[in-house]
Homo-oligomer: 96 residues x 2
């Protein structure tokens, strides 16, 4: 049976491929859909209506107008690291 | 309710902190425990008995003998990218 961490890794891959085309890429529209459905709390916190476009620009390291899994993971990592900082602060204060 | 992707991010943080000390670091022993419990399929595929030591050395970017969350995530990312490559090949052949 896969471990919790293995399930997380599988989850990231599955979510990505739910929105990606058959070559494993997200175009701008697909990235917007993924973020609206899967990262809506983060997207709500971004008050800039051009947030998705800016994120697309930042993620698309090879500037082909598409986001592949490797580029997508860097978004997930950035958000996870930010969340972990909050988690540590919260745990130091003690869970309620 | 958190999305599947948000659950994955939370899962990575929770698994890491199950093994980390109160400052949010894994020493060599804790990294070994985490890998044995949470990445045992990967660890089994590494026939080198010094695999964990080598991974520790590679992950510990700031060479303090400890792996923090940021360093840990780079392992998870590397494994996820490798898994995604296999997933794509598998999906092209068509799921059974």
């Amino acid at each position: 049976m896969p471990s919790e961490l293995e399930n997380c890794m599988e989850g990231m891959i599955k979510v990505f491929h739910r929105y990606a085309d058959k070559d494993g890429n997200l175009n701008r529209k697909a990235l917007r859909e993924l973020m609206e459905n899967e990262l809506c709390n983060f997207l709500k916190s971004q008050r800039d209506p051009a947030a998705v476009d800016k994120i697309m620009h930042d993620l698309d390291a090879n500037k082909d107008g598409l986001v592949n899994f490797e580029e997508f993971v860097s978004l997930v990592v950035g958000l996870s690291i930010a969340c972990e900082q909050c988690y540590k602060v919260h745990m130091r204060k003690g869970p309620k």
